[in-house]
């Protein structure tokens, strides 16, 4: 008797409960996705909409005028070029400083290692505007305002922690005995670096470069205090267009601004997996 009752209850739960919980999960997921994606949707629509204001659900018409404006009135190609140049410089500087630092932190016994890491992370932990304020003072002193190098240097303070953290973990994961094997096989340090360290660290390196690129490309606060007419970036131009009252143009620029981030997201989804970053040999 009791056994039957228990069995029935069990069957009921197994039929009904999953359905209910699945429904709940999907509802919440959908709500979350809408919540996250709706701003992007608004920008996308806004960038091609005609007369989309007031209480309208759908725009009155579609147009590419705002992109045309963005390209011609705000000189989008040059602004985009600035963004790319600055991002490229940021990558170069961040790697130049970050790779040796990461090697030292990851491969050698460094005293006060944690203190150093904290120090490197500092610009990321303080309010950006506070950091920007101090930075602008220095930049005026060194005449770095409105130069690509200046903006890139500012961005480097934010990108460097990524590079150091990702690469020190990557370098730490390299097996010293494999590098030993490289030397035993007859390779000097340069061959070891080119043939072994570089390919083995490549997933981490790619991640560091991509994160650095996006960090620089999307950076706003520090750019605001270091840019000038010659170094306008996409983020700042978006901001200026909003200030000028051209919401649609600002949206059009934002869409362009979004492209690398979306590409990166897809890349991360496909390429960067933990097992690729560590790149070890099975069984050990």
């Amino acid at each position: 008797m009791t056994a039957v009752a228990v069995g029935a209850g069990h069957r009921m739960r197994s039929h009904l409960a999953p359905r209910v919980s699945r429904l709940l999960i999907y509802t919440f997921l959908l709500a979350f996705v809408l919540y996250v994606l709706s701003p992007f949707l608004a920008i996308l629509v806004n960038s091609v909409a005609e007369g989309w204001f007031g209480g309208r659900v759908l725009p009155a018409g579609l147009t590419l005028r705002w992109f045309d404006w963005a390209f011609n009135v705000t000189n989008l190609p040059k602004v985009m070029g600035n963004s790319f140049i600055i991002a490229g410089l940021t990558i170069a500087i961040s790697l130049a400083i970050g790779l040796p630092t990461a090697w030292a932190l990851g491969r050698r016994r460094v005293r006060a290692r944690n203190m150093l890491l904290t120090l490197i992370l500092l610009p990321k932990t303080v309010p950006p505007i506070t950091f920007a304020l101090g930075l602008s003072r220095e930049f005026y002193a060194f005449d770095l305002v409105d130069t690509h190098l200046g903006v890139a240097l500012a961005h480097t303070t934010l990108a460097l922690p990524f590079v150091v953290l990702i690469m020190s973990a990557t370098f730490e994961g390299l097996d010293e005995r494999v590098l030993d094997a490289g030397r035993v096989c007859g390779g000097n340090w340069l061959r070891n670096l080119v043939h072994l360290v570089l390919p083995m660290a490549m997933p981490g390196l790619m991640a560091a470069v991509l994160f650095t690129f996006v960090t620089s490309f999307n950076e706003f606060t520090l750019t605001l205090v270091t840019y000038g007419p010659e170094t306008l970036t996409l983020t700042v131009q978006t901001y200026l267009s909003i200030g000028d009252g051209f919401l649609e143009v600002a949206s059009a620029i934002s869409v362009v601004l979004l492209v690398p981030s979306v590409l990166l997201l897809i890349l991360i989804q496909r390429q960067i997996r933990p097992e690729n970053i560590l790149g070890g040999v099975k069984g050990l």
Binding site: A181, V184, P199, G283
Partner: protein
């Protein structure tokens, strides 16, 4: 014959610890010499000095007549097989094996051919396109072996190459290494803690402890005539009898413990009457008495304490006294019952005697020996 690898007074210290203490060793052309010892005995440190990963604090390392003490690793022209395989994870098996040739600037066509030949030698043909992570442990170590021999170095070093493999594979790889060595004729130093591996593979064995080489010799020599008590105890699983030297006939001594006597060779030649001594007796050199003992044998009384069936044989633990347990393997023709009193017959000499300094006279370590 000339020495291919030579260590001359090699010293390596880590802070206060002396990992290698005046190592001297000459390995002849085509010879395989094992550095055998427990972990921490300095054998790996010695090998790393030879590969150039470590620089000895004192002494010289000579390979093929060239002093390489200050030559960087990549110019030493040696092959090394690593314990953890140390394959290049991002390269295919073929590229792994071809790497030493690539570094030496050999043309792609030629190096492909030679890498394939090396893979054939370790019986991995057809797996060249795989990545190391797609191979089993045994296959990975074969790749390591192929990579070490592909550029036909005169010297191939082995750093515990089998300890990451399971027992069956270990035997197979041991055969593989032995046959490769016969075919290619390279000179080797082989580091291991596994005495069976050392005994079966080596031309000579150097037994190490605490950074010092205790004895160098052929496997049979090391096994039958250990020169220090450490070597006697480390190799095989000898029975022990600790007592007092009561008589001496030429190079043989009679050692008595708890009323039992055994005749042994005085290994160091320094034992005097009244000295405390320990005798190591190989289990296979004693037998159970089934008739009268011949005049050149001695008998010892023992009681059967325990037996363990091992399949092809049975191991008996025999008590010679309260404190001394010996172990003995017998085939199934002889069956002993627990509690039975037996006479053990040992030849003259029945073992090797060493002076025992300082420690009290008892056979307690012998108990542990019975319980592997």
């Amino acid at each position: 014959m000339s020495a291919m690898i030579e260590l001359v007074d090699v010293v390596k210290r880590y802070g206060d610890v002396v990992a290698c203490n005046r190592l001297n060793l000459a390995v002849e052309q085509g010879e395989l010499v094992t550095l055998l010892g427990a972990s921490g005995c300095g054998k790996t440190t010695a090998l790393r000095c030879i590969t150039g990963s470590l620089r000895p604090d004192e002494g010289r390392i000579i390979i093929d007549g060239r002093d390489v003490t200050d030559v960087p690793t990549h110019k030493r022209n040696i092959g090394v097989v690593f314990q953890n395989f140390a394959l290049f994870p991002h390269l295919t098996v073929l590229d792994n094996v071809a790497y030493p040739l690539r570094v030496r600037g050999i043309r792609p066509v030629v190096r492909r051919e030679r890498a394939l030949e090396a893979l054939r030698l370790v019986r991995l043909e057809g797996l060249g396109g795989r990545f190391p992570r797609e191979l089993s442990g045994g296959q990975q170590q074969r790749v390591g072996l192929a990579r070490a021999i592909v550029y036909e170095p005169n010297v191939v070093l082995f750093d515990e190459p089998l300890s990451n493999l399971d027992a069956k594979l270990r035997l197979e790889m041991r055969e593989e290494i032995a046959s490769l060595k016969d075919r290619l004729g390279f000179t080797s130093i082989y580091v291991t803690h596994d005495q069976e591996e050392a005994l079966s593979l080596s031309d000579r064995i150097a037994v190490m402890k605490d950074g010092v080489i205790h004895q160098v010799g052929r496997p049979t020599e090391i096994y039958a005539e250990p020169r220090t008590s450490f070597v006697a105890e480390f190799l095989g699983n000898p029975n022990r009898l600790t007592g007092v030297c009561v008589d001496r006939i030429q190079d043989q001594v009679v050692v008595e413990a708890d009323g039992q006597r055994i005749v042994a060779t005085d290994a160091s030649g320094t034992l005097g009457i009244g000295d405390r001594a320990v005798v190591y007796v190989r289990p296979e050199s004693v037998r159970i008495q089934d008739g009268d003992a011949s005049p050149d044998e001695t008998t010892l009384r023992a009681t059967v304490v325990r037996s363990a069936f091992l399949g092809d044989s049975t191991e008996y633990i025999l008590a010679l006294s309260d404190k001394v347990n010996w172990h003995l393997r017998l085939d199934h023709a002889t069956r002993l019952a627990v509690g039975e009193e037996v006479n053990l017959v040992a030849p003259r000499p029945g073992g090797r005697a060493f002076a025992l300094a300082g420690s009290p006279v008892d056979g307690s370590p012998g108990v542990a020996l019975g319980e592997r």
